[in-house]
Symmetry: D5
Subunit: 197 residues, 10 copies
């Protein structure tokens, strides 16, 4: 079922920060307890080509998000150890050195399977052994969630694997939603802050 | 399950065109048989405020979509008769006069329930009568699907009710995807045609 | 199961009045709390040909119903917004301008599916997606319900789509039933007030 | 589910004619094979007050129905023997002497339970004996069906027990439906033959 | 399961008396509360040939039964209204005028289905409509029950439709059973009061 | 379900004749293949008081039954060996010496459980052992069946344990049924051969 | 499951003694309350050839069993009445006159079905009637149980129908078991009292 | 269900002979293919006190069994290796040196669980692990089976753990059964070859 | 599911010690209550070739295990009696004389089926008899468990039937695990006490 | 169920080699088609401390394994991309540069869930969303499998997370198993090539 208009799932997930600390993060609580918006973006795998570009793009725009009281969180199904190794790899070597926002390490897929954004299909159950076999790498699509200060999802979007995201569009959506929150107005298409609605 | 990376559902739905003709439209076949991309956007209800703005915005950009071989289709759960009445209502009166792309009239909700974008929740079944009672108006969220020439969904996104869409972002996504199709390159974040990847 | 002799379903439904206000209406409570009879008539769709004729016919006879302490309520599965647009469309343009009784907007079909008067058939369930596909437009037949002051249905009737209703016959049925209520007499065929039973 | 718009059930039922012959009658076949419309009206019980009045009213108008190629059939759950006794009871003694149309004797309730017009409720099943106990007399409501030459139901209506029917309204409905059949026009409210639609 | 040796079912049924009053009768309570034996005999239908003969035969012997403290009750599945009409039909016209014992009107078949004496067979259930279709007229066989003062059945017998009953044999069975009750002796075959056992 | 009007069960059962031969008897086939009526009477137990009286009564009337082309068969759940011992016990010692008709030995209860005339109740199933425990001696009531030449049951009756049967009543029932068979007339109550119907 | 090493079933069964009294016997309670061993032997049928021989053999050895504090009980599925008739039949006529130990009359098969020693097989269930049909006479095999003072079975054995039992072997088994009870020694093969183990 | 009167189970089991060879033995086939009777005796465990005594007793009488065309087979749930070790242990050390008949090694309990002679009870199933826990050592009682040349069991007996068997009684049973086979006579109690029946 | 990281099953099993005493042993309690590590090794069968070699090897190293506070326990599915016989068989005759650690006698397979180390497969269930037939000897593989002082398994390994174990490797694993316990260090590959990690 | 003695699962899994190529590897086919033994070792995560030590230890001994015709394969649930990044990380930085054997990238857990070696427990299923939540990181224990040329597992072992493996022990097990294969001898404990068995 679509998540828009509902609360984000209440789950704690492993995460890694730039210090190399592994800690537990609950997106819903982050939003509600800190009275912040959250932008949560998923990418398929660490140590690949498209992904670091996106991660750097969000890092470059981090100040813009913070001005809008938005917490940015990245996420993949790699382990905290792998995130840390990637964080320590220079950008020139395909790493994400310099990224300062936290990155979820959903290695047990608790959150991504709840969001239904894993690239697996055709599950087959082996009666004899009780094991499940799937097709696909069991990693996530390029899904993005915008969550407001009450934990309600106000945008969700998924791009096919090879398709990068546009950071500015998320800023626009956040501004438009904030405008609705503050002004009680419904926001027409193509709305942009400062332009005529 | 996320639709991205999969074929769009193979279903025929009533639709209304600017001539007032009711006809059957199958989005998957439209894409495959005409070798076109399709942008399908859903809005909650005819005769409301935000919706016509979006409908006019897509109309204004229609030439841009057509240059890119993209068919634009609107959709709500109102009947063809209601679409026609709205199409005949001048823009100044809150109507959508001037819109020329077809609009799906999914009054039986066959397609929207398949896409899981209806705003209903908490279904309760009455054992005695066999009837189902729901909460919500049983209309769709502001969901958008980008579909390629083979009928594969390459982007899906849902906005919360009061939040309008950005037509330009869809043009960007289409260009980026076409770039991947043509160049075999994977597309980095914030990519725009003519800019450096 | 036939509703005659039983209480009308206890459900609240969206409704639109001539002022353009959307409000919740519960037919059973209207009857019981206001100690009124209710005539509830369903028509398939707004903005069609037969329907407005019927809606105007009930409007013309409204005084007759009110003299008999009967509340008239129209109903379709269109949204309140569409009802309002139609109420603002002049009669000459196929609209229902001038109608003053409320009209139910059962867009979520809670009441019409409970009454089993939707034109859908051959439901098929898709195991993979959990979605249900139906044949038919998912709009109502031309069904009419007469309900007494205790909320008990004393007449129900359904006409096939192209067949209009006779407002006088409902007045006759109401008079005959009132006669039974007041006189404790059972009412013979073709009974009319003032004529010999 | 509403029967309107669907074929009448294909079932043979015992019937009694004025000659005292018991025979089998299948309403669907009567319509289709004789290319006639059928008016089938149910009443609760033989030898009661309201019922004979209605039976006589239909008899008085029989010529009108026949002019319109409509077969009139009465029906209750009494046996053919009881129908015959009632047919032989003078009108002054509360009988229906003079009625010439056939009357269904649905003593096994095959048809009336299929139409769901029996006044029983709260079935309870006795596990030990396998017997079913119900509330109500297990007789029918005052239900009426109008069926066209193809066996399709175009009107169904049910009156509460004490409420008699209006023969003229059925003539009007038949005329209106015939008008639609012949003229291909949809029939507005309060339509009457010869009047302006 | 055979009822002999067990209590008669504890059910209230509509009944008609010679005054034309409809009332509720519970055979088990009649026996226990009045400390009487009961002879309950079922016949298929009112207004038929064999049945009135039996009804008159029981009436003729009524004094004999009453001397033995036995209540006689007739029963069929016709309605009280039909019983009353038949009670008002002279014997010469095939009626049962003159009968003074009460007659059960088991129109809802609660008791006769519990006793399993209805002539229906081959029930078939229609999955689509939930209705049950049967063969047979859904009337009772010629079943007889003898019940003692504690409500225990001490004889049950069923005759095929065309076969009348022998009132004297029931008097013999009652006398023999009373003999067992009073003398504590078991009764040999062909026993008759006053004869040698 | 009542057996009257249906074929007698098609089952072979052990039986004993006066010669001491054990053989298999199928009541249905006896009737159909020999074109005879059958009177089958059950008694609870060999070597008891009431039973031999009944068995002798049927023996005394055997000629009357044979004149009417009726085969008499006794039956209990004792073994053939016990029947034979009882047949060899003089009448004065409580035996049935002199009985010449066959006696079923339904020790496996195949037929009596099919007829549902065993005096057992309150079956309880032991989950652990799979055994069934009952109350009652698991012997038959005093049940009698009259079967015609086609194997159809036309009378069934059950007497409580201590209550003997009346042989003459069975002769009367047979004569009345034969009268119906031959004359095509339905038989009124208290009918006797040679008397006025 | 084998009964050896477990308590004998706790069930009361009809029994007949030499006085002709029918009474209830519970083998488990007999053993426990009287602090006795019990030898219970089953035979197929009264009034047959092998069986009386065995019954006389146990009678002849009765004193030996009583010296060892063992109660002897016979058992079949015949009724108490049949047992009494057989007990009154002289030995020369194939009877068991002179037998003084009690004989169970398990006519309802409660105990024998619990012990699983009935000769029935291939049960088939008739869905329509709910009756069960079996092959076999529903009588017991020649089964023997030795039960100690606590009600525990210490030997069970079953012989095929035509095979008689050896009374002495049971005396040997009882002596050997008593030896184990008294001496706490385990008993070697072929052990006999007074011989070397 | 008792095995007497039925075929012995058709199963192959590991066995050990005096040579130390492990081989497969199927008791049913041994009887049928060699046209021999079989005496199969089970004991609880190798290397215990009672058991070797019984094994030696059967060895001592082996010639008597062979004269009667009877094959003797021992059986326990120990492995072939353990049987061989015990066969190599001198009698004085508690071994069974000198035994020449084969011994089944039913370590997988296929046959003993089929015969239901294992001393386990109170199985409890662990849902989490799928493992079954029992009480008891999972070894067999002292059960004995006599099987004829067609594989039919004609005697089965079980002794409680501490109770040894009597070899002579089995010889007697075999002689008696052979007598029945040859003479067609049924065998009275206490029968012995050469003695009067 | 793998046992490593979880508590060893809490089950009591028969065991034999060198004194010939049968007693109950619960591995989990042994570890926890004595604050010891446990090495539990399973072998397929007593009285075979490979097994005694392994049992002697563990005996030779017993002092080394005890120095490390480790209890050594052997285990197979043979009975305590068989273990005792083997313990009394000199090493030169293939026995295990000299072994002083206890040996589990899991004849009822409670523990080995819980550990899922039995060599059975292809279970087939016989519906008629309720017995289970398997392939394989129902003995254990060569499985080894290392359990710490809290009852947690820290190593499990299984060798195919013909493959002996290496006692030194278990000493190494114990030392490495103890090192982790004491030093809080994680242990690299090939670690050995006193060597550089 | 234990895998020892059975074929290794027939599944293809992603793998990475030192060249950075991602390819599919099926362990069972590798063994069977190349006629090689396989040592497959699992470790929990890339970029951790213990793991690289083990990976280097296997690399150092690689020549020894190859001399014995054994293929060495590592495995974790990280992606091929992460394996490649680790392979390119120098040993001094905690990387595994220099490792030349392939490493399985079982990111979809098809093989590890089939082997039941993941550290997850307490699965809980969310009825509303259909998602499964687990405890644990969903990575593998330190499990090792030795597989022969026919694909049969001859050793499996699992170490708790902090416990490293001993490469030499695996060489010993391989040599011992090869010895059994070549010499047909069963291998005693502590066996080593060249030493006395």
């Amino acid at each position: 079922m679509a998540l828009v208009g509902k609360k984000f799932p209440n789950l704690s997930v492993n995460a890694m920060n730039e210090m190399g600390d592994t800690f537990q993060m609950n997106i819903l609580e982050e939003a509600q307890e800190n009275n912040k918006k959250v932008l949560l973006f998923w990418y398929p795998k660490d140590f690949t080509f498209v992904c670091p570009t996106e991660l750097h793009a969000f890092q470059s725009a981090l100040e813009e998000f913070e001005k809008r009281n938005v917490m940015v969180v990245g996420a993949s199904c790699d382990t905290p150890e792998v995130h840390f190794a990637w964080l320590n790899t220079p950008k020139d070597n395909g790493g994400i050195e310099g990224v300062t926002y936290p990155i979820l390490a959903d290695s047990n897929r608790n959150l991504s399977s709840r969001l239904d954004i894993l690239d697996i299909m055709n599950e087959s159950y082996d009666d004899e052994t009780g094991a499940i076999t799937v097709e696909g790498d069991n990693v996530t699509y390029r899904a993005t969630y915008l969550i407001d200060e009450e934990g309600t999802v106000f945008h969700e979007g998924i791009n096919h694997m090879p398709l990068g995201r546009n950071v500015k569009e998320f800023l626009r959506l956040i501004d438009a939603y904030t405008h609705v929150q503050e002004k009680g107005e419904v926001c027409p298409a193509n709305w942009e802050e400062g332009k005529e609605g």
